[in-house]
């Protein structure tokens, strides 16, 4: 256990990298060996993640398994890592989804092949993603954050769909554009703090208390822009449908399940606790944008005929719920956000898997051509229906709690925020749930139901295969388990998000009475 506590999170991050290096060293063409290596690396990371979960003191608000090693002494940047109740679920989600993606890759490597490069890039991607969730140093965070871009760029650009060049460059430049502002924000934080530091926890405690309000808002704006592009918040979302649609199945799954969460995580780990004052100022804006995103995403989904693109747009709406939860600044809202992130990762990741497997069979994402899938491949259709229903927020399945808690929290945002705006956002978001149900049901009607089109009547298609089941069953089980037993996540997060809210109230007003009121529901 000591190994886990001391080096667990480091292992979770760098085991995949090690795997990637080993895979690169293997000769070309030995696909099965490369697959086994990739499975071993991600599986080891998953085991470490599970061990961490068991070693973790659930219910403790602070950082655990902290580790700080000197890294770049000249700017006082350290290899400082640690996890708390907010990062643990995301880390576990990341290692799990990566492992399942590798299983799926064993079933099928997309065109134009080259398993070696494909697997190595996924492993590299996993390192970046895991690293982002554990970094407690801004420079370290930034390195991991940017590390994610490169493999994803190649995954889209090489193994993507017809329009992959455009999508990959757009993805890369857009996110890079956002991270430039984020980096400027980091540098500003460094120079404004006294003593100069990149350490998130130090910055949170004492770092930037006395900076002028205008500058603080500016810094927050920069950070928020960087994170918002990644989330993506409306109106910075336009890279997402293209990237999702063009990416290979595994790329879409990882994008949806983990990458988007880095943005929302950034808000909760960096932007809000370090700059709570500006966060309170910006919260109504975020809430309004989130409400817009919910309805807007749903409307755009209604306009789609392409299955995968529709799922991509649904992410805009779902991340809107997450952002709505964050904007309330209450423990309920933050809980909703973390839960929503995990649920969205599981459900939408699963939907992308399904879309990919459907494409493997039908060679198209166009819904009219898929009609009658329920007759052709009933198991696949059943899974699609299950995931669609989970995604539209049916109670008892994973998608529900994030949405309902976000809406619940926005009825009563943190003291100091204007409840009227948030209640308006709540109503709009609630209407969004109807639209969400609408597009998913119409999708099911067009895809699953109806009669089989002439083109496919005579063709025999394979239903869900064993390896696909292997990759999907954990996710399907999670959808159900999270829906029925939400404590699985809540017990871990609640104390941490409560501490987060206390940071905000303690820092933005400096008044202890507020803290007492907020916690005293």
């Amino acid at each position: 256990m000591n190994l886990v506590e001391e080096w667990g999170i480091t292992l979770a991050v760098f085991l995949p990298l090690l795997g990637a290096i080993v895979i690169v060293l293997t000769p070309k063409g030995m696909e099965s060996i490369q697959k086994v290596l990739a499975l071993a690396a991600t599986g080891a990371a998953l085991l470490v993640g599970l061990a961490l979960t068991f070693a973790f003191e659930h219910g403790e608000p602070g950082m655990q398994f902290e580790k700080s090693l000197s890294w770049i002494p000249s700017i006082d940047s350290n290899y400082h890592v640690g996890i708390d109740g907010i990062s643990l679920p995301l880390l576990v989600l990341s290692v799990l989804v990566c492992f399942l993606c590798i299983i799926y890759a064993c079933w099928h490597i997309p065109e134009p092949g080259n398993a070696k490069a494909f697997l190595a890039l996924i492993l590299l991607l996993e390192t970046g993603m895991n690293g982002s969730f554990i970094a407690l140093d801004l420079v370290l965070f930034f390195v991991f954050w940017e590390l994610v871009l490169v493999p994803m760029y190649f995954l889209i650009g090489i193994w993507g769909g017809e329009n992959r060049q455009y999508a990959s460059i757009k993805f890369f430049l857009y996110t890079l554009f956002g991270s430039v502002f984020m980096l400027l924000g980091f540098l500003a934080l460094y120079f404004q703090s006294d003593p100069h530091t990149f350490d998130m926890l130090l910055l949170q405690e004492s770092g930037v208390l006395d900076i002028p309000a205008g500058l603080a808002s500016l810094i927050f704006g920069g950070l928020a822009l960087g994170f918002a592009v990644k989330v993506p918040m409306w109106p910075f979302h336009t890279w997402l449908p293209d990237a999702h649609t063009q990416a290979p199945t595994i790329g879409s799954v990882l994008l949806a399940a983990v990458l988007l969460k880095m943005g929302t995580y950034g808000f909760m780990r960096i932007a809000i606790p370090i700059l709570p004052g500006p966060a309170m100022q910006f919260a109504p804006v975020i809430a309004v944008l989130a409400a817009i995103a919910i309805v807007y995403g749903a409307l755009c989904c209604l306009a789609q005929t392409n299955l995968k693109r529709m799922i991509a747009f649904s992410s805009v709406g779902h991340m809107g719920f997450v952002m709505l939860g964050i904007s309330t600044m209450t423990p309920e809202g933050f809980n909703a956000a973390v839960f929503g992130m995990v649920a969205h990762g599981v459900v939408t990741g699963m939907l992308f898997f399904l879309a990919g497997s459907i494409k493997e069979r039908y060679h198209t994402y166009e819904m009219p051509e898929l009609a009658g899938m329920g007759l052709k491949i009933p198991k696949m259709a059943g899974l699609l229906a299950f995931c669609a229903i989970a995604s539209l927020g049916l109670p008892g399945l994973a998608g529900f709690w994030g949405e309902v808690m976000a809406l619940l929290a926005s009825y009563q945002p943190l003291e100091g925020l204007d409840p009227t705006i948030f209640r308006g956002a709540m109503v709009v978001g609630a209407i969004g749930t109807v639209l969400t149900a609408g597009y998913f049901l119409w999708m099911l009607q067009r895809v699953n139901m109806g009669k089989i089109s002439e083109k496919w009547k005579k063709v025999k298609l394979a239903d869900v295969e064993t390896l696909e089941y292997a990759a999907w069953l954990p996710l399907l089980a999670l959808i159900l388990v999270l829906g029925l037993y939400p404590r699985l996540i809540m017990d871990t997060t609640t104390s941490s998000v409560t501490a987060l809210t206390e940071t905000i109230t303690g820092r933005s007003s400096g008044d202890d009475a507020h803290v007492a009121q907020v916690t005293d529901h």
């Binding site: 423990p331 007759l375 149900a437 809540m490 529901h521």
Partner: protein, 681 residues
């Protein structure tokens, strides 16, 4: 926090004080069908009847459990007048530091009555369906969904908190969706399923928001806590009113009240057993149950919230009864009749007739389930839904006919059938309130009497057209015969209940039901002979006129040719509500608004991104080609030339020539250095 937790604790202690063993196990009742649903989905296909037998077994277990719980409950009630019920809960999760959500169950008279209703009807429907659906496609899925539906309904009934109710509520919604769309090869059926889900979901938004409002008012999801605080006046009246009205929106959707009632007739696209179970006896009364469960909130929010409830219910019962008059589809007659009867229950709650409304749930379940199953038997025999294809079936299928007629008479409200007793109490409740000077109650009272008349009228029409007169079906090809035993037996059991089910609520000291389901503050009115006579008179008049028109042919009325033609047209078109929703809400949102949003996405937002990218990439070239070469060096010869130049140059902005890029770079460096030094930025 401290106060509310203490309240919850006291509350729990109080209700837990007087308990017996059977009640402690009540939580198992919803678990049984849930497990059975999972089993059917998993391995049901391998069974000889494709999973039906598992469902039936589970339902029998549910029924047994429900009866045990029921009798235990009434035993408690008999022993102790002030018994509030039994409640147990575990923590489901903590939303935040002080916001706890429980997973629990609560058994009191109301829940016990509903348990019996669900248990009996579900069992009958399963038995019936195992024969009715025998040769159909996807039988396994059918029975799994039925089981899951039953689990959701039972969960709703037993839930001790609002969120758990929402879970059951939405679970029923999705099962209803799956079952309405059972024959989804046909587009109409899947569309009806979607319509049902979305329409009720509109109401659910209100329900959900109502839960939130009440939660922040009471700091609890617990039904008991909310009710107590509402009654004690611990929640602001404004909050209560908003919360109650929002909750009622949920009931409007689920119980198919005006203006969201339009989904229920379309839901008849599903198999008939589904209509009997879900769209007559159980799911659609969930809205009524919700209002009854949260009645202290509504009562505390009176008069606004309650009057709204009464008026909506009254409008619904009237317009639906009128619609039932002109339907040709047997199931649609029953569907509108269901809407109308639900209006009765809702309006009854609105006029404080709490016990009477729940009593009507109880009686309505028996005769309406009976009518639907009977209709299924008829449809099975003549292979058509339309009454214009039936007639004279009395001789061919006597058992179905007799049971059906019993159901019809119970629906029309003739003594001593079940429907009479509950309807009479409802009318009496409205009358009492009206006499106290409530305008809304007066409206309700009149609406109830008119509806009683109309109900009897369409029942007469339905019975006459279906079972009497000359056969209208194609006698060469269709040979109606009595249905198999498995379908007949449930009919007979339900018929017995439709006759005798109301006798538990006989007026006066005999009234057991009033003791089972009782809410302090909504007292039971003593029997009033005048009201009973008036309402029975209305029903008799309606039935007489109907029988005269449709059976005996004494009065010839051709609605389409008299002055009533516009009315007829209005009714046939269902008040154009469907058209309005379709044309002004669904189509604009689904097709146009979404297209507009997508257009904005692609042209404005995405366009801006792309434009920014292009501009950034090509500014350097623009400076050279168009400013330097185009304007200064080349000069502008004429406007047309400029246009052409611009067009052609725009195309070649990007030359890929690295020297030009390098030039731009060096120039940039020079400019930056200059700026830094000379302007000391």
């Amino acid at each position: 926090m401290v106060t509310t937790l203490a309240t919850a604790a006291e509350h729990g202690a109080e209700v837990a004080a007087s308990t017996g063993a059977p009640l402690e196990m009540a939580w198992l009742i919803p678990i049984i069908p849930m497990v059975s649903a999972a089993v059917i989905w998993g391995v049901g296909k391998r069974f000889p009847k494709k999973g039906a037998e598992i469902g039936i077994l589970a339902m029998l277990a549910v029924l047994a459990g429900a009866l045990v719980v029921f009798f235990d409950t009434i035993g408690h009630i008999a022993a102790d007048e002030g018994w509030h019920g039994y409640e147990r809960a575990v923590t489901w999760m903590n939303f935040g530091p002080g916001t706890t959500l429980e997973l629990g169950f609560k058994v009191d008279g109301l829940a016990a009555v509903l348990l019996v209703v669900v248990g009996v009807v579900a069992t009958m429907v399963h038995l019936y369906a195992s024969s009715y659906m025998h040769d159909e496609v996807r039988v396994t899925h059918f029975f799994a969904s039925l089981s899951l539906f039953t689990a959701s309904m039972l969960n709703l009934v037993l839930a001790n908190n609002t969120i758990q109710m929402l879970v059951g509520w939405e679970g029923m919604g999705v099962c209803s969706y799956l079952l309405i769309g059972h024959w989804w090869e046909k587009h109409e059926n899947s569309s009806a399923a979607i319509k049902a889900f979305l329409t009720t979901r509109v109401g659910d938004v209100g329900f959900m928001l109502g839960i939130f409002v009440l939660f922040w008012g009471a700091q609890s999801f617990n039904v008991g806590v909310i009710s107590e605080m509402a009654t004690a006046g611990d929640i602001a009246k404004g909050t209560l009113t908003v919360g109650a009205i929002l909750l009622f929106c949920g009931a409007i959707g689920k119980s198919a009240q005006f203006p969201l009632h339009t989904w229920l007739p379309d839901a008849m696209a599903g198999p008939t057993p589904v209509s009997a179970l879900i769209h007559a006896a159980t799911m659609v009364v969930a809205g009524v149950y919700l209002v009854a469960r949260m009645f202290p909130v509504f009562a505390a929010a009176a008069p606004v919230a309650l009057e709204e409830v009464a008026i909506i219910g009254s409008i619904t019962m009237l317009i639906a009864a009128l619609l039932a008059l002109v339907q040709d589809d047997l199931k649609k007659v029953l569907a509108y009749s269901t809407i109308s009867q639900l209006g009765y229950m809702i309006a009854g709650l609105g006029v404080h007739a709490y016990t009477a409304s729940v009593f009507h749930i109880w009686t309505h379940a028996w005769f309406k389930a009976l009518l639907f199953l009977g209709a299924g038997s008829v449809i099975h025999a003549v292979h058509s839904n339309k009454m214009s294809d039936m007639g004279g079936l009395y001789k061919k299928m006597p058992v179905t006919s007799i049971t059906y007629i019993i159901g019809g008479l119970a629906l029309a409200g003739f003594p001593p059938f079940a429907g009479f007793w509950s309807k009479d109490e409802l009318v009496l409740g409205a009358y009492t309130q009206a006499m106290e000077g409530s305008g809304a109650a007066m409206f309700t009272f009149i609406a109830m009497l008119v509806t009683a008349f109309l109900t009897a009228l369409y029942v007469a029409r339905m019975l006459a057209l279906t079972f009497f007169g000359k056969p209208k079906y194609d006698e060469k090809h269709v040979h109606p015969h009595e249905s198999p035993k498995l379908m007949i037996v449930p009919l007979m059991i339900l018929a017995a209940l439709a006759v005798a089910g109301g006798w538990v609520g006989l007026p006066g000291e005999m009234n057991q039901f009033g003791k089972w389901v009782h809410l302090p503050g909504s007292e039971h009115e003593p029997f009033n002979m005048m009201i009973a006579v008036v309402s029975t008179g209305a029903a008799l008049a309606g039935f007489g006129i109907g029988w005269a028109i449709f059976r005996l042919g004494k009065v010839k009325v051709d609605l389409q040719k008299t002055a009533l033609a516009p009315v007829y047209k209005l009714l046939v078109n269902k008040y154009y509500l469907d058209d309005i929703y379709w044309k002004f809400i669904v189509r604009p949102v689904r097709d146009r608004l979404s297209a507009a949003a997508y257009w904005i996405n692609m042209k404005v937002l995405d366009g801006a991104v792309n434009a920014a990218g292009i501009v950034a990439v090509k500014t350097g070239d623009f400076m050279y080609r168009d400013v330097d070469q185009g304007l200064i060096d080349g000069g502008v010869n004429n406007l047309a030339g400029l246009m052409g130049l611009a067009g052609s140059k725009l195309k070649f902005w990007q030359t890929g020539n690295m020297q030009r890029y390098a030039a731009a770079m060096f120039l940039g460096v020079a400019v930056l250095v200059g700026a830094f030094v000379f302007f000391r930025i």
